[in-house]
C-alpha cells in the first residue's frame, strides 16, 4: 500500500507543481470542450475576467465573450483547431475594467488518449503593450514620411559614394523629375553642373558634422540650369563607417533672379546717370558746333559749294542730337508729355506698321484679350517701345521662317507685385508680350541687353541704344520690362504697364478747337501721332491726296490752323506742298517731320521758307506740341 501512497503523493506533488506553473503564468490558459464550454481555466484567466474559477468553468465561450463576438471571431478558429490545426491569431477584446486589450491567441488540439480531439488548449497572451509600442513606432514613421514628403525643401538620401537611395517630392519638383524611380540608383554627380564639386563636398562631410555648401549650380532632369542651396550630413553605423548621407536642397533660383534684377537695375541707374551727364555735356558742344555752322551758313551765298558742306555739318549735328536725346530718354532725363492712351490702339497700329515691311516667311500673330487698356503715356514713346521690340524680334529670326506673336492681357496689381517683387503703383497692369522664334540669347547676353551701346550687331549697324531707350521709357511710366530667352528657340519680352482709368490732365496748355492737317505716307505711324494730338485736344484731319489737300486749304471754313507734313508722304510731293503753301493768300504754319537721314526733299522744303518748325524722327509728343505752339504763336 505504501507504494500506492507514494504514487498518490507523487501524483499530488506533480499536480501541485503543474497547477503552480499554470496558475502563476501570466498567460490566460483554458481547456475548452467540443461544446465550446470552458472545462478548466487558470488564475490569470480568472483575474482577467474578475471572476472565480468556479463561476467560469461550465460557461460557454459565448456566455463569456458575447455570442456575437464568439460566432464571428472565435468559433471559426476553434473549429479549425478541432480539425487538427494549431491556430494562432491576434485579436482585441474588451475586458471588464481593463478596457480594450490586444491578445495573441493560440488554440492547440488536446486529444484524448484515443487520439480523438475532444478538447483544445487555449492560450491567450496580453500583447497590448507590445502592440502600442509597435503602433507608436509606425505612427511616428508615418508622420515622418508625411513630413518628409510634404517638406517644401528637397530631401535626398545617398550612399556614401553618391548613389541616390531616396528623394522626396520637393526634390523631384525642384529637379523636374517625373518620379522617384527615375533617379533612384542614379549618380548625384550627374546633377551637379560643376564636375568634381560633389566629391569635394563628400570629402568635407567625412568628419560627420553637418555642412552647408551655399549655392550650388545644378542641372535638372530636363537639363535646365538651376541653383540650389545645399546642406548635408553624413551618418555613420555603429562601427563608425559611413552608412548614408542626407542632403537638403533649397531652390534659390528665384532669389538669385531677384538679386540679379536688383543688381541690374542699380547698374542701369548708374549707367543712366553717366549717360545723362555725357548727353548733357555733348548737347553743349553740339550747340556750339551748330551755332558756328549757322553763322557760317549765313555768310555763305546759297550757291557756294561750301554751303553744302555746312549743311552736312548741321545734318550730322541733328543725328548727334537724336543720339543724345536717346541717351537722355534712357537715363529718364527727358520729361514726357503724357496723355491717356489705349495700349491696344498703339499696339495694333505698330503691328500694322511692321506687317507692311516684314518678309513673307515671317508671320505676325496677335492675341488681344482686352481692347480697352488706358495707360498714361506719350503714345509716340509707346510706339517706339513696341516698334523696337517687334523690329528686334524680326531681326532675331534672321532668315528662318516662323511666327512673332504679340499679346495683351490684364494682370492684377498684387500678382504683379508677387511676380516682380516690387512696389506697385496701380491696382491693375497691362502685360504686353512679344515673342519670337529667333536665335535667342544666352544668359550672359541677356543680362546686358538694356545697357546703352550694348549691341550684338556689327559695328556701325544700329547704335545699341534701342533697348536701353525702351527700358527708360517703360521705367519712366512706372512699368517694368523683363525678358526670357533660349538659344535657338527664341525670346519673349514682357512689359508691365500700370493701367490708369482715371483722367489725368495734360501738363501743357493745348489749343482747343485748333485744326491740324496731317499729311502722311504711312498711316499707322501718323495714326499714333494723331491719336496723341487728339488726346491733347487738337482736331486732326488726315490727308493723303492732292485733291483733298487743295480742297481743304482753299476752303476758308475748313482751312486748318496748322499743317504737319511727314517727308515720306508719297501721294503729296514736297514740290506740290511748296506750290500750295507759297500762294499769297494761303499762309498756314507748317511743321515737317523728317527721318534722321537728311534728304534733298527736306532741304528743298527748309529752303522754300514755308516751314516753321523742322523735327527729326523719332519725335516725342512734347516736341511736337512745343513745335505746334511755337508755330502758331
Amino acid at each position: 500500500m505504501s507504494g500506492n501512497d507514494d504514487y498518490t503523493r507523487y501524483l499530488a506533488r506533480e499536480k501541485y507543481f503543474s497547477d503552480q506553473i499554470v496558475n502563476n503564468s501570466r498567460s490566460m490558459i483554458s481547456i475548452i470542450n467540443r461544446n465550446y464550454v470552458y472545462e478548466k481555466v487558470n488564475t490569470a484567466f480568472c483575474d482577467a475576467q474578475k471572476g472565480m474559477e468556479g463561476s467560469i468553468i461550465g460557461k460557454s465561450l459565448g456566455d463569456v465573450w458575447g455570442h456575437e463576438t464568439f460566432n464571428a471571431r472565435i468559433k471559426p478558429n476553434i473549429d479549425r483547431c478541432f480539425e487538427g490545426a494549431t491556430v494562432r491569431y491576434e485579436a482585441s477584446f474588451t475586458i471588464p475594467q481593463a478596457g480594450k486589450r490586444f491578445f495573441e491567441v493560440i488554440f492547440r488540439p488536446f486529444p484524448a488518449e484515443s487520439g480523438e480531439i475532444t478538447h483544445l488548449l487555449a492560450e491567450t497572451f496580453d500583447i497590448t503593450d507590445l502592440k502600442l509600442t509597435e503602433k507608436f513606432a509606425s505612427d511616428k514613421e508615418e508622420e515622418f514620411r508625411r513630413f518628409e514628403t510634404n517638406l517644401p525643401i528637397g530631401f535626398l538620401r545617398c550612399k556614401p559614394d553618391g548613389m541616390i537611395i531616396h528623394a522626396n517630392r520637393a526634390f523631384l519638383m525642384i529637379m523636374d523629375c517625373i518620379e522617384e524611380s527615375s533617379i533612384q540608383n542614379a549618380d548625384l554627380r550627374d546633377y551637379y553642373s560643376e564636375k568634381g564639386l560633389l566629391d569635394f563636398h563628400l570629402e568635407q562631410l567625412k568628419d560627420h558634422k553637418p555642412k552647408t555648401f551655399g549655392r550650388v549650380p545644378l542641372k535638372t532632369c530636363k537639363n535646365n540650369d538651376i541653383v540650389c542651396r545645399i546642406s548635408a550630413f553624413m551618418t555613420a553605423d555603429e562601427a563608425g563607417n559611413p552608412s548614408y548621407i542626407d542632403f537638403s536642397f533649397e531652390d534659390s533660383s528665384r532669389e538669385l533672379m531677384l538679386e540679379n534684377r536688383l543688381l541690374q537695375a542699380q547698374k542701369l541707374e548708374t549707367i543712366g546717370a553717366l549717360a545723362g551727364g555725357i548727353a548733357h555735356d555733348f548737347n553743349n558742344i553740339l550747340a556750339t558746333i551748330s551755332g558756328y555752322s549757322e553763322l557760317l551758313q549765313n555768310d555763305l551765298p546759297r550757291t557756294s559749294p561750301s554751303a553744302d558742306n555746312v549743311a552736312k555739318i548741321m545734318a550730322a549735328v541733328s543725328k548727334a542730337r537724336s543720339l543724345t536725346n536717346q541717351m537722355l530718354t534712357f537715363s529718364r532725363q527727358v520729361e514726357q508729355e503724357k496723355v491717356s492712351v489705349n495700349v491696344y490702339d498703339v499696339l495694333k497700329e505698330t503691328i500694322g506698321f511692321v506687317r507692311s515691311a516684314v518678309p513673307s516667311y515671317i508671320k505676325i500673330k496677335s492675341s488681344f484679350r482686352v481692347r480697352n487698356v488706358p495707360v498714361f503715356a506719350d503714345p509716340t514713346q509707346l510706339f517706339r517701345v513696341f516698334l523696337n521690340l517687334m523690329t528686334n524680334a524680326i531681326q532675331s529670326m534672321e532668315e528662318r521662317p516662323g511666327t512673332i506673336s504679340a499679346s495683351l492681357a490684364l494682370v492684377k496689381g498684387k500678382n504683379v507685385q508677387k511676380e516682380l517683387n516690387k512696389d506697385i503703383v496701380a491696382d491693375e497692369y497691362v502685360l504686353v508680350t512679344v515673342k519670337d522664334m529667333g536665335k535667342g540669347m544666352d544668359p550672359s547676353l541677356l543680362r546686358r541687353i538694356f545697357e546703352p551701346f550694348f549691341t550684338t550687331r556689327e559695328v556701325g549697324k544700329g547704335s545699341g541704344l534701342g533697348l536701353s531707350v525702351v527700358h527708360g521709357i517703360v521705367t519712366e511710366m512706372g512699368g517694368e520690362i523683363m525678358v526670357s530667352s533660349k538659344i535657338n528657340e527664341g525670346s519673349v519680352f514682357y512689359i508691365y504697364l500700370p493701367v490708369s482709368r482715371e483722367y489725368e490732365p495734360l501738363s501743357v496748355i493745348t489749343g482747343k478747337n485748333k485744326r491740324i492737317l496731317f499729311i502722311t505716307g504711312n498711316k499707322h505711324e501718323s495714326r499714333i501721332l494723331s491719336l496723341a494730338l487728339e488726346s491733347a485736344g487738337y482736331e486732326i484731319t488726315l490727308s493723303s491726296d492732292m485733291d483733298h489737300l487743295n480742297k481743304i486749304v482753299t476752303d476758308t471754313k475748313k482751312r486748318p490752323d496748322l499743317i504737319i507734313y511727314m517727308i515720306e508722304a508719297e501721294q503729296i510731293r514736297t514740290d506740290d506742298l511748296i506750290g500750295i503753301l507759297s500762294k499769297q493768300d494761303i499762309r498756314i504754319p507748317c511743321i515737317i517731320i523728317a527721318d534722321s537721314n537728311q534728304t534733298a526733299e527736306e532741304e528743298k522744303l527748309v529752303n522754300s521758307g514755308i516751314v516753321n518748325q523742322h523735327l527729326i524722327k523719332p519725335v516725342s509728343l512734347r516736341e511736337i506740341i512745343n513745335a505746334i505752339q511755337v508755330s502758331m504763336s
Binding site: 549757322e294 527727358v334 520729361e335
Partner: protein, 126 residues
Amino acid sequence: MPGILIVEDENDLREMLKVSLTRRKFTVLEAENGKDAIIHFKPAVTDLVITDLIMPEEDGLKVIMRLRELKPSIKIIAISGGGKAGPASYLNLAKALGADAVYSKPFSVNEMIMKIEELLVIEQDM
C-alpha cells in the same frame, strides 16, 4: 542797341552766342555762372538774359527768379542740355518761372535771334 546778358558756364558756347549776337549789333554782357550774373547784374543796360539752367554756383532757375525781381521788365530766354529736377524738366520749370522762351541744346541760333528781335521789338513798341 539793346544789351543782352549771356549766362553760360560752357566757354565755347558762350563765346559762340557772343559772336552771333555782336554781329547783330547787340551789346553783350557775360557771366560764367548764376552767382556772377546776379552779383554783377546791371539792370540799366540789360534788356534780355540768355541763361543756361544747370550751372555750378547758383543755377539758372535762381537767376530767372532773382533777375525778375531786380528788373521785372527783363526778357528771359532759357537754354538747357536736358535734365530733370524731379518729375518736370528744367526747361518747363523755367517756363513756369516766367522765361519768355526756352530752347533745348543744340538749338538754332538764327531761330533764337529771330525770337530775341521779336521780344525786344515788342518791348520798344510798348
